[in-house]
Symmetry: C2
Subunit: 191 residues, 2 copies
DNA sequence: CCTATAATATAACGGTCGTAATATGAGATG
DNA sequence: CATCTCATATTACGACCGTTATATTATAGG
């Protein structure tokens, strides 16, 4: 029925579908059947591409995190130091990001569940976070903070925590308030 | 077989068991049968005490959050301003809290899932967070920060985000590093 | 055109979930 | 002692989960 476009393409579609579902519904809320449906296929073919749901979660987390990290920095190439980090925080802690998890960071929806997952999942996350923090670090160095790496880790924590709470409080006045407070905190901290 | 101690006692035991499981395994990882087992009873009796799992989650979240908020502040009655908030942050962002979720805050394990839950759950959370932030606020006022409420919201976001990430990175060197960085951030911010 | 091969669809397995109907058993009342 | 009441136990239902075995289909090579 469906036109065949090669195994690699299918794998990529599965990965993208999984990324969307993970960002929208978390790990427990993401089912293999749902992912395959989102990729325009049926369950049966899944295990020809991935050995288990956990393997899919690891790879989808990897690729969607990298994609989000890149998207977060696009268009900011001309900015430096404090101006750059502030722009990143404002973009991350925006209402747009809160209301459209699909185009954003997978951490707010999944980090809490990764804590109860197996070690391989946490190890994979550590690699990605370490890499992202290493990108953040020099920018904070330019901004003249005392310990750029510590500040990068704390900034990530603030952004993830703020977005997680803002989403958990969605539909209440506190949601916007949390976002605004966290943006203000970064601005005060860095300028 | 088991001695009967009144319906109220049973309800309380269910609530405490649910709180433990929520803090350790999140909402999806918490099953009604498991909660009743933890309370020393079997599934059947559950619906005599709560109309649904969601109702249980709301009430267990409420009571365990309040309990954690109180525990977080005990023994700190003599401290003021910056010293107080720093002690709270150090206690929250400790390895002890990371490694023993049962005696701590339910937010790191549940906030990500609450975002996908129904509105009543989010409304209930908003009430509790608003109340906690109102307790934090005057202490930050004493510390002399510009906008105490905003700072309280941002501090909560940093603490929850830091603990969530530290648990998601547990077993890797990054976990301790995140905790240390967030503690340092609060210290620098407030002194 | 026919075959070989690989990708996908169909269907089923065992397990767990939330929920509900029914059965049991203990405490209070007469 | 008999009976009523109500908390709890047992059991079952339908839905969904991850995973696997099997059937079907589409592409590539002779």
């Amino acid at each position: 029925m469906t036109r065949y476009e090669g195994k690699g393409k299918s794998r990529q579609r599965i990965l993208e579908s999984a990324g969307c579902q993970l960002k929208e519904k978390g790990i427990a809320g993401t089912s293999v059947a749902g992912v395959m449906d989102g990729a325009g296929m049926t369950v049966g073919g899944f295990y020809a591409h991935f050995p288990s749901k956990q393997a899919l979660v690891i790879e989808a987390l990897r690729s969607s995190f990298r994609e989000a990290a890149e998207l977060l920095q696009t268009g900011l190439e001309d900015r430096r130091g404090a101006e750059w980090i502030e722009a990143v925080a404002h973009r991350y802690l925006s209402r747009a990001h809160r209301d459209a998890p699909v185009h954003g960071c997978p951490l707010p929806a999944t980090a809490g569940e990764i804590a109860h997952a197996d070690q391989p999942v946490r190890d994979a996350l550590a690699v990605e976070i370490d890499s992202f923090v290493s990108e953040l670090e020099p920018k904070l160095g330019e901004a003249g903070v005392a310990s750029p790496r510590g500040e990068a880790l704390a900034s990530l924590s603030l952004m993830v925590g703020g977005m997680t709470l803002a989403r958990a409080l969605n539909g209440t006045p506190l949601s916007d308030e949390v976002l605004r407070a966290c943006r203000g905190h970064v601005a005060n901290r860095v300028t």
